[in-house]
Amino acid sequence: GCGNGKTSGSSATKQTAFKAGEVTDVGGVDDKSFNQSAWEGLKSFAKDNNLKVGTGVKYLQSTQASDYSPNLNTMVHQNFNVVYGIGFLMQSDVQKIAEQNPKAHLGIIDAVAVDKNNKPLKNVASITFKEQQGSFLVGVVAGLTTKTNKVGFVGGINGALIKKFENGFKAGVKAVNPKADIYVQYAGAFDAPDKGAAIAQTFYTKGADIIYSAAGATGNGVFTEAKNRTKSGKKVWVIGVDKDQHDQGLPENVTLTSMVKRVDKAIYDVTKQAKAGKFPGGKVLEYGLEQNGVGIAPTTENVSKKALDAVSGYKKKIIDGSITVPTTDKEYKEYLANLK
């Protein structure tokens, strides 16, 4: 196996081969969401750089929140050249380990690591995404595809992060279809497919024909419900999140499109810079449409030509700044006011 981690301190000696690692949250590396995406980034980096999976790139899974810190610490002490904490839940653990080991290089997804004075920590790369931008685009697709003029949004836990998805989506729908009704509900959990299914059932029964789910495994319930409906002859759609969820919609083919969040790409980029000795410590990297960090899924077979055209139009406007996609409820209100 790899080193026994007996070395203390954080003297990141460069004699050993380059190593990059990630600490997953309780979902593990196959959560069909960002843990998995991150791991795919590391794996493809390994492939391109002849590193061995399991030693050169490696992950440690946490089984509870209190494991984050020891897992991060273990990797740092095993002299990994860069260690990622996946998810904003690990923010404070990453900050603490970074402060204790100033020479170690860490990365954090979906959060900005700061010190006590709210200054970015010099040895942490903070990777965030403009989910609102990608969500806006799938909102455009939804707004143009709905036949009932009713669409739904299912969120995991109601918080700043998922609000970006919600408001971006709503803004996109309204941009192309101002009259559309948008139902919004949060399940209160990222791992409650039963609740996801129940919410989807409510939305579909109320007449929605497209639901965008930004709810992790809770979204699986949305898929189940959509498939059931479709099988019994009422065609409805789901919009996936994080990855291209086209396959999960099969065989009933209920995935309209997905909002992809390229955690893999970001991780790959940062790891590459780290290997080249240009670790972007202290920087806040924002991955938006411009960086291809978010966007709509490559599978577009269910999306109409018209919608695709609209998407590329809006994409340009967002990138050139002529449209600012709202992230919070307040911004969304202002955005709506401006639309009129």
Binding site: G27, Q185, P193, D194, N220
Partner: protein, 321 residues
């Protein structure tokens, strides 16, 4: 939304959520009626769900198509039954405290299932998704009945009706057959049963094994109708809820079914209410906690005192006074 529309959402959703709870709590009825407390229902559901996931995947892979989830439920029943034998051996033959054994059973199931998933799927922490679920359907004919049809017979799964039918069957077995009489006698007064030549240990083994079978079915139904894949968070508290339903239902099969339906209803309401005018103004926390608060309120007033079988939880040691 009109009341009618609300009902067409809430009732089917109630039935869907309740089915796994019904099966599992019926399992609890068997075990506890025979005098063995079963805190391990949660673990038995995990085993059932896990087994259902891997066997549905294997079956659909070998071309069993829509029959896959149904066969998987049967396999899960067997797996649950076998797994529950650990509880039986430890708590009946080895005279362990039944609570201790049940708690250990939950731990073992949680660890073992994920461990096995990792072994089977090369390190992954969860199974792939099954493609052949047991679907929500409209029951031909019945769903056409005006008013009643759309509420009770549309967007439902056969498993929900099966669960209700099985509760009646279990009631029949427990209260109308010699087997049931003996099972209950062992849970009430094992020494008395013993003097009448009833093999106490054997009856209790059967009770526990049946709880495994039903718990396994409960977990499997949850998987093939609701979640579609197995991970750590698939079974997260449903077993404890089934346990609560069992006590709430006063250790009676029909009571357990009623309590399960009540839990299902409360949960469906908590979700749907956010789309119902006026109810949507309530802070979400009120609706989210409603099922649990309501249960507490109901237990304080209306259903009266729940009394467990007299020898529930008491190991039987032959010849001991």
């Amino acid at each position: 939304m009109s009341i009618f529309e609300v009902l067409t959402i809430i009732i089917p959703s109630t039935l869907l959520t309740a089915a796994p709870l019904i099966f599992t709590s019926l399992g609890g009825v068997f075990s506890e009626r025979s005098g063995v407390v079963n805190i391990g229902l949660e673990g038995l559901m995990s085993v059932g769900a896990f087994t259902a996931a891997i066997s549905t995947l294997a079956l659909e892979h070998s071309g069993f198509g829509d029959a896959s989830p149904w066969i998987a439920i049967l396999i899960a029943a067997i797996a649950g039954g076998l797994f529950s034998l650990i509880h039986a051996v430890v708590s009946i033959s080895f005279r362990a405290d039944q609570t201790v054994s049940g708690v250990a059973l939950n731990f073992l199931a949680a660890g073992l299932t994920i461990f096995l998933v990792k072994m089977i799927y090369e390190g992954k922490g969860q199974t792939p998704y099954i493609t052949h679920n047991i679907d929500k359907i409209s029951i031909p004919g019945l769903s056409k009945i005006p008013f009643i049809g759309p509420i009770f017979f549309q967007q439902v799964t056969y498993t929900s009706y099966l669960a209700i039918l099985v509760s009646v069957l279990v009631w029949f077995i427990i209260f109308k057959t010699p087997f049931g009489l003996r099972l209950r006698s062992v849970g009430e007064h094992p020494a008395a049963a013993d003097t009448l030549g009833i093999n106490v240990s054997r009856m209790r083994y059967i009770g526990v094994a049946l709880s495994g079978v039903f718990g396994g079915i409960g977990g499997a139904v949850y998987l093939v109708t609701i979640t579609s894949n197995y991970s750590v968070s698939t079974i997260a508290g449903q077993g404890f809820l089934a346990l609560a339903a069992l006590v709430f239902g006063k250790w009676h099969p029909i009571g357990a079914m009623g309590a399960s339906l009540f839990f299902g209803f409360a949960q469906a309401l908590s979700i749907t209410s956010q789309q119902i005018p006026y109810l949507d103004r309530l802070p979400s926390v009120i609706m989210l906690t409603a099922p649990y608060v309501l249960t507490l309120i109901v237990l304080t007033g209306f259903v009266g005192r729940a009394e467990a079988p007299k020898a529930d939880g008491v190991p039987y040691i032959k010849g001991q006074r």
